[in-house]
């Protein structure tokens, strides 16, 4: 295939070819970044919370105040365990991805000079690790004695369990078991390490900085009920649990309730909406670009009918004509892609500084290029085929 005639013909259509190239460049830049953002959102949505998510339901009440908080909450829990299909029932301080959490900075020494990173204070009633499905990877679970009182949320028991992320951050290269830190003047010692447990909200690298403590129900620890149940009966269990709590506690408010998968869905609702929006724009962008390429190609074919006829008359085959338009399109799209890569990179730099987005991986460039080449070829195929069907006799008909 001779490139030179195509190039010299393109030089005569500088403006139109340039516009097409620019359109492809901008489309390429937007596509690369949009697809990158979609993948970012989707990968965030894959986060592993560490819970047996499909088996949990939760009810957020206004809690029980005063001295009878412990017996009232314990009898509520006992009643909830009686609901058919419920495997366990506990009260906890907060749930992963609930947008509601309690955080602290531990002191790494007794006099509080050296502060550790901000982390979540997770507290739960007897058996909560097991009920939530959190997996221990080292050490052991809390003993029955550990579930004691709390003092403005600080558990009396000195035992704590940390996530692997905390263990690796605070005591890298050593076993976390037996290590300690302080909250205020109170000392807590690690008795176990769990695999995963994310915080009330995701916080980048610190999303799994959680320390888990034990306490029996109390005025502080009496509002968020979590039930583990048969996954197929979650909705029914939730309804029954709400009815039971309301019947047992006429003055109790149930502020909110739901299944854990529902809570997780809510947490990522805006990410999902954004991913959908970006995907819609990408699709529309592809369609508009393809129509633009096709529209302009049709126009060129119509404009060059006579030249095509002449070429055919002096011996060019249909395939030659077809390939001519395909190659022309390939050249224009390639130019657009070259410019588009630079633009994509620039936009990515701007997004990195304004929206805390990571750098666009290099792998996006060849994939994006391939996609646009393919799009261009598809869009030009119709007009190019039409061109190849121009009969040689056109050359002899004068206008």
């Amino acid at each position: 295939m001779e490139l030179l005639p195509i190039l010299s013909s393109l030089r005569r259509h500088k403006l139109a070819a340039g516009l097409l190239m620019l359109e492809i460049a901008v489309a390429c830049a937007i596509l690369c970044n949009a697809v990158f953002m979609i993948r970012q959102r989707l990968s965030e949505m894959q986060v592993h919370t560490g819970l047996a998510e499909s088996e949990l339901v939760w009810l957020k009440t206004d809690g029980v105040s005063g001295a009878d908080a412990t017996p009232v909450t314990e009898s509520n829990l006992a009643a909830l365990r009686g609901i058919p299909g419920v495997k366990s029932a506990v009260v906890v301080a907060s749930l992963p991805l609930s947008n509601d959490d309690m955080n602290f900075n531990p002191s790494m020494d007794a006099d509080g000079k050296h502060r550790g990173p901000n982390m979540e204070l997770m507290v739960g009633s007897p058996g909560y690790l097991h009920a939530l499905g959190i997996k221990l990877v080292e050490g052991h679970d809390f003993s029955a004695d550990d579930y004691a009182g709390v003092d403005t949320w600080l558990p009396h028991s000195p035992s704590m369990i940390v996530t692997r992320a905390v263990a690796e951050r605070l005591w890298p290269g050593q076993s976390a078991l037996g290590q300690a830190f302080w909250i205020g003047t109170k000392r807590y010692q690690v008795i176990g390490v769990v695999d995963h447990m994310v915080r009330g909200e995701l916080r980048g690298n610190a999303s799994e900085y959680t320390a888990l403590f034990a306490a029996r129900p109390s005025a502080e620890l009496s509002s968020l009920y979590v039930l583990r149940a048969d996954p197929s009966a979650l909705d029914r269990v939730l309804r029954d649990a709400a009815a039971k709590l309301a019947a047992l506690n006429p003055q109790m408010l149930i502020n909110d309730k739901g299944t854990y998968p529902g809570l997780r869905g809510n947490y990522f609702a805006s990410d999902r909406a954004m991913a959908w929006l970006l995907a819609t724009v990408c699709t529309a962008l592809l369609i508009v670009t393809a129509l633009g390429i096709g529209g302009l190609a049709s126009f060129w074919v119509a404009q060059r009918r006579r030249q095509i006829g002449i070429r055919r008359a002096i011996g060019a085959t249909r395939g030659d004509i077809l390939r001519y338009f395909q190659t022309e399109n390939f050249l224009i799209v390639s130019g657009g892609i070259g410019l588009g890569m630079v633009l994509a990179y620039t936009i990515n730099l701007a997004l990195m500084s304004h929206y805390e987005l990571p750098r666009l991986p290099l792998a996006y460039f060849p994939v994006g290029a391939l996609a646009l080449w393919l799009l261009g070829q598809l869009a030009v195929l119709g007009p190019a085929l039409r061109a190849s069907h121009v009969p040689p006799v056109v050359a002899t008909r004068s206008v």
Binding site: L15, A16, L19, L20, L22, E23, V26, A27, A29, I30, A34, M37, D62, S65, T152, W153, L154, I183, G184, T185, E220, A246, P250, Q251, L253, N255, N266, A269, S270, A273, M274, L277, L278, V281, A284, L285, V288, T289, L291, G292, G295, L296, F299, W300, A302, Q303, L351, H354, Y355, V399
Partner: protein, 434 residues
């Protein structure tokens, strides 16, 4: 002449229906995406209290000892009540809210969980809160920790059937409050006066009670959603002396002179607190005083996703426009012969230019109509989305006009280059070749 151009444009567009619909589709899609995102952006970044927002200010001081480069958003009890007592602004109010348990007058009914604001007497005149019955409480009632309440129109409708309920009681948790005022519907968006720890586009508040009373009845638990303590707290119910930020404080300053005097006051207050050993800083204290709109920007009330969406939409519109430029160029140059004849018959370059732009504008009007339909669909999708501002997403008259303005402007911009090229066509050459 314009009528003639319109007629010509209409004939020309009809002659190439596919090319025309491609252009209308491109403009329509781009405009639809832009108007959808612009409407959301415009709603979210609007002024919630026009005419007054320039006089409302949020002061900031920094009482905690964590090393920080920005002053704090929340206030300690001590600082908020100190500033309130010293009364240096035209009006001032402490604001904090929570959902609490409210019982209606009917015996035996289950409680409701209602958003309840604890504030001080200036709140109502300062934020131009409209009353249906009665009024806010008095400074004396603030001082006496009186058990009085102002309720929203919606709650009054629900509990008292919309009648005048002044003097009647509602029960908040375990305590009875006498109703002194009922509001007219009041639900500013964003809920600008109480953003600390709350979503910006939450639904309205139902009950307002004196801040002093809420402290007297600390078990009500009105302590906001963003209790931020820089040391271990020792009592979570009585927060008066705890090392925690949890309150918000607003002032009204009516003149620029008062604004600058208040800035100085915040500095001298911080220095005085340093002398008392409460604040710790080196050199100048960190303080802040933002007017309302500034404050909404500072707290990033408009979600960054919404801005990003607007950028994406405009990027898309750009692609659609370049597309339209290309297609218009093809269309105009295809008519070189016709243009040459018109030029030879005496039409000036300007006339040809105007004719071509009229054609582009006509595409813009059609694109605008399609864009409007798409924007309405887009906003319908936004309303069904799970965001907290979903219910707000409606097209107002202004955005309706913006749609057409943007669409025609976009198509004219797209038409400029092709029209210029078209009017460069020399008459003679075209006549010769035919």
């Amino acid at each position: 002449m314009f009528g003639y151009y319109l007629d010509l444009a209409w004939r020309s567009l009809k002659r190439t229906p596919i090319l025309t619909s491609l252009m209308v589709l491109a403009i329509g899609l781009g405009i639809g995406a832009c108007i959808t995102t612009l409407t959301v952006l415009h709603l979210l970044s609007g002024d919630p209290i026009p005419g007054k927002s320039a006089q409302l200010f949020y002061p900031q001081v920094m009482p905690d000892t964590r090393s920080k480069t920005e002053p704090e958003i929340g206030f300690t009890y001590t600082d908020a009540t100190n500033l309130l007592r010293e009364h240096r602004a035209d009006r001032q109010a402490i604001v904090v809210s929570n959902n609490i348990k409210v019982f209606g007058p009917q015996a035996g009914a289950r409680p409701m969980s209602l958003s309840t604001v604890a504030t001080t007497t200036d709140f109502f005149p300062m934020f131009d809160v409209p009353f249906r019955y009665g009024a806010g409480w008095t400074p004396t009632e603030d001082g006496n920790r009186a058990r009085v309440a102002v309720i929203s129109q919606e709650l009054n409708d629900k509990l008292f059937g919309g009648g005048n309920s002044i003097g009647r009681n509602i029960r908040l948790d375990k305590w009875d409050f006498r109703i002194v005022g009922v509001l007219q519907h009041w639900q500013p968006q964003p809920r600008y006066y109480d953003l600390y720890g709350h979503g910006a586009f939450a639904s309205g508040d139902s009950v307002f009670i004196p801040f002093s009373t809420s402290r007297d009845l600390a078990d009500l638990g009105i302590e906001g959603n963003a209790l931020d303590c820089w040391e271990q707290l020792t009592d979570q119910v009585h927060l008066e002396n705890q090392p925690c930020l949890w309150l918000q404080y607003w002032v009204e300053l009516d003149t620029p002179a008062k604004v600058s005097a208040y800035r100085d006051y915040l500095v001298s207050y911080s220095e005085q607190q340093k002398a008392l050993g409460r604040f710790q800083f080196n050199g100048k204290p960190l303080t802040g005083l933002h007017d309302l709109m500034d404050w909404l920007g500072y707290l990033q009330v408009v979600p960054s996703d919404v801005r990003l969406q607007t950028w994406v939409a405009f990027g898309f519109l750009l692609v659609c426009l370049i597309n339209t430029v290309g297609l218009l160029l093809a269309k105009f140059l295809r008519r070189s012969g016709e243009i040459g004849v018109r030029r030879a018959l005496g039409a000036s370059r300007r006339a040809v230019f105007a004719q071509m732009l009229t054609e582009a504008a006509l595409v813009g009007v059609a694109g605008g109509m399609l864009g409007l339909l798409l924007a309405l669909t887009g906003l319908w999708a936004v309303r069904r989305s799970p965001t907290d501002y979903a219910a707000l997403a409606h097209l107002d008259l202004r955005m309706f006009l913006v749609t057409f303005a943007l669409s025609i402007a976009a198509s004219l911009v797209a038409g400029l280059l092709p029209a210029w090229r078209a009017c460069q066509i020399p008459p003679a050459l075209q006549l010769k070749s035919h």
